[in-house]
């Protein structure tokens, strides 16, 4: 933008700029999910009894299992980043691979939950609670799916030998995004499953 010639002029500046870019993107994400959390709050205050009855139809054990799955996946990202900072590219690939596997487990559990809800005739149109449930968890699920893609790309970069102890920016940035996906679920789980 400011007319650098070719490659990044200063690696530290480039790293810090990339970080600010990701945090800016995450700011828009906070507001995207924030609009839905606002809708949740408004309708919850308007229909407290309906939320109390409907939320009990969700399986809080499956919700808790998925919480543990995502927290574990975040730890894998932390360990993967630590590995590449020590120059261990193969270890980074293994840890990020584990993250992708756990993301798939998360989505599979979500799939069984959705199937059970549909089986019992609970659809997004059923009532405002389930509209919000499917909208919020669905949007979050799309983020999990995108995260799997981004992490796969980082593994690909690593396999091609592009990442090292001195350059691991893509791994760091994908990690920030993945932790955010975990963070959103940390709020979704109690709000939808535990305190309808």
């Amino acid at each position: 933008m400011s007319g650098h010639t070719g490659e990044h002029a200063d690696p530290v500046v480039a790293f810090e700029s990339a970080k600010l870019g990701v945090w800016t993107f995450l700011a828009t994400e906070v507001l995207l999910f924030g609009a839905l959390f606002t809708a949740y709050t408004v309708f919850r205050m308007k229909y407290p009894e309906m939320f109390r009855v409907e939320h009990a139809k969700l399986d809080r054990v499956l919700g808790a299992v998925n919480t543990v799955v995502l927290i574990t996946s975040s730890l894998m990202v932390v360990l993967g980043l630590d590995a590449i900072k020590r120059g261990k590219a193969r270890l980074l690939e293994a840890y990020f691979g584990a993250t992708i596997f756990l993301a798939a487990v998360f989505l599979f559990v979500k799939y069984t939950e959705y199937s059970a809800k549909f089986h019992h005739g609970l659809y997004p149109r059923t009532n405002i609670f389930f509209s919000l449930y499917f909208m919020m968890t669905g949007l979050h699920g799309i983020h999990v799916l995108l995260g799997m893609g981004v992490l796969s790309y980082v593994i690909l970069l690593s396999r091609r030998g592009r990442l090292s102890a001195s350059y691991y920016t893509p791994a760091e940035m994908s990690g920030l995004y993945w932790h955010f996906v975990d963070l959103v679920w940390i709020y979704l789980f109690p709000l939808l499953y535990l305190i309808g």
């Binding site: 810090e16 360990l79 963070l183 709020y187």
Partner: protein, 92 residues
């Protein structure tokens, strides 16, 4: 680029264990009827977990004030949206 405070693996695992414990607590508390306090406890625990993730996993702890600014400004805007919307819908 260096975040050279302590052993990152040990910190990561300690935060991970804390997150698991807080998850267990929030699930167990949800089986006890505390009335309105259920909401308060659940949100406090969720915010404690979110803070752990942001501070250690996203390593906000140790970041510059500029990054902190970028991280906090959407939360200010979200509060404005929430407060603005609720004052409208509740006073209608």
């Amino acid at each position: 680029m260096a975040h050279g405070t302590g052993n990152p693996r040990r910190t990561g695992i300690a935060v991970f264990v804390a997150l698991l414990l807080l998850t267990a607590v929030t699930v167990l508390v949800s089986y006890v009827d505390l009335g309105l306090w259920n909401v308060v406890v659940a949100l406090l625990i969720a915010s404690a977990k979110a803070s752990l993730v942001a501070l250690f996993f996203m390593h906000l702890k140790g970041e510059s004030r500029l990054v902190w600014g970028f991280a906090l400004f959407p939360i200010v805007f979200l509060s404005l949206i929430l407060i603005g919307t609720l004052t409208d819908t509740m006073l209608r």
